[in-house]
């Protein structure tokens, strides 16, 4: 039950994008098409789950025992970047279609603060190994949900008469704002 709560809390109530403002750049950038948005979401979820595993291990097996807390950022980001690169290679090697669907998004994800944010939150919230993974999955699911919803909306807006100066990023932000208002309905759902 605890794990389920962690998952939903990360996915909906405390959605990374809509209430923690993490991963906004890809959220605005890659939400133009449902298909790419969904792939981006999946890729992010994938990287998030891997990140939660690896950074947890690094933190608890290397940094904490050696009192190297201060190397958190440097080591996390290096590990994430190398891992993403590795995964990209791997996917490219085993499956071209999968690479085209997911792989090309991976470099974008490296410079996505949701990933590093996730690693830091897991440390901050003192999650256990399993909890950390579930949290990562939940955050990924939440990101996927938010970005796919946004992409659906933006595809619809492509057909709309949005004032020219509001097209693109501004309207996306405004929609995100309204979405955030709507997600407030879930406030107090888990922790209340």
């Amino acid at each position: 039950m605890e794990l389920v709560l962690i998952f939903f809390s990360a996915a909906i109530v405390n959605n990374f994008v809509l209430s923690y403002f993490l991963g906004i750049c890809p959220f605005i950038g890659v939400s133009g098409k449902i298909s790419s948005a969904f792939s981006m979401g999946l890729a992010t979820t994938f990287v998030m789950s891997i990140t939660s595993i690896v950074t947890w291990l690094i933190y608890h097996l290397v940094l904490v025992p050696n009192n190297l807390d201060f190397l958190q950022y440097v080591s996390f980001i290096l590990v994430i970047a190398s891992l993403v690169q590795f995964v990209e290679m791997f996917i490219k090697k085993i499956s071209q279609p999968l690479y085209r669907a997911l792989g090309i998004f991976l470099p974008l994800i490296t410079t996505n603060c949701a990933i590093l944010g996730l690693a830091l939150f897991i440390v901050l919230k003192e999650y256990s190994f399993i909890e950390g993974i579930v949290y990562g999955l939940g955050a990924g699911a939440g990101f996927t949900l938010a970005i796919t919803l946004m992409a659906g909306i933006r595809e619809e807006l492509d057909l709309a008469d949005v004032p020219k100066s509001f097209q693109g990023a501004p309207i996306t932000l405004l929609v995100a704002g309204i979405l955030a208002l709507a997600f407030m309905g879930f406030a107090g759902l888990i922790s209340g």
Binding site: I28, G29, N67, M89, P107, L108, G168
Partner: protein, 274 residues
């Protein structure tokens, strides 16, 4: 040295080594030879890797542009400057040495072209109007004035003048040719910048009908073609210029009763003076 320092150095050095190693392998195994254009386009992009173009980062966008899958103006971050730069790269590489500009070869605006006795209701788009009995002008060959070309221009280089005919702003035009593709009546053609003589009409009607439908139509009388030595040919009641053979001095411009054949620049000058 204190142990923390040592461990820190070891950790970071190790991680760096690991990463460099993995990249080295990646580099060895996955190198692809690419079109040099891609790098050129990539260079003028902002490099933000924001994905705003809908592609997975700047490089992917560059690949798509070069492959013709993304529009030159697809990068929202770089804005117009970048679009222009890309358009130029793509254009130059396409091998054009002389700048090509679109010319609008119809001068039957609202005050020249005769209208049908109808009120047209519906979308004011040329192609949609054309579907409904060819729109509300009597001429079935000329500009419909719906502005599909203007809509299609990614650089805002066209506007509709008060006579209901599109015009090109040469300074803003990149010569991308989108307007030509957009015009269903083939009224717009790309020509080298310095080309000056044109037949400003597309009407193939017989002389009588031509006269009935538009006051500036090419009537098809053939006077201009007669002594041109193949520089002007008649194609089903319409004078068509063969620029390879054209010798301007053989054309009796003042004999054309509707001024359908004439000079582009002279006309412009006359107009700015007035």
């Amino acid at each position: 040295m204190e142990p923390t320092l040592l461990i820190a150095i070891a950790t970071m050095g190790g991680l760096g080594f690991l990463f460099a190693g993995s990249l080295a392998i990646a580099d060895k195994k996955l190198r692809v030879v690419e079109n040099p254009l891609i790098a050129k386009v990539n260079d003028v992009l902002p490099g933000a890797n924001c994905g705003g173009c809908g592609k997975a980062g700047c490089y992917d966008f560059a690949v798509n542009v070069v492959e013709g899958k993304s529009p030159v103006n697809g990068c929202p971050v770089g804005g117009e400057e970048t679009s222009r730069a890309i358009a130029e790269i793509m254009g130059v590489e396409a091998g054009d040495s002389v700048k090509m500009l679109p010319r609008i070869l119809c001068r039957g605006g609202n005050s020249e072209a005769v209208k049908k006795m109808v009120n047209y209701y519906g979308p004011l788009s040329c192609s949609a109007m054309h579907l409904v009995s060819g729109g509300d002008k009597m001429c079935y060959y000329g500009c419909l004035g719906g502005g599909d070309c203007i809509e299609a221009c990614p650089f805002d280089a066209m506007f509709m003048n008060a006579d209901g005919l599109p015009e090109v702003i040469e300074e803003l035009c990149t010569g991308c040719g989108n307007c030509v593709k957009a015009c269903l009546r083939d009224v717009i053609e790309m020509h080298p910048e310095d080309r000056n003589v044109f037949v400003f009409c597309k009407n193939h009607d017989d002389p009588k009908t031509s006269k009935d439908v538009c006051s500036v139509a090419c009537l098809g009388c053939g006077i201009c073609a007669r002594k041109s030595g193949g520089g002007v040919e008649m194609d089903n009641y319409l004078a068509v210029i063969n620029y390879d053979k054209l010798d301007e001095s053989t054309i009796p411009f003042d004999k054309c009763r509707t001024n359908a054949i004439g000079h582009l620049r002279e006309i412009n000058e006359r107009e700015t003076i007035n």
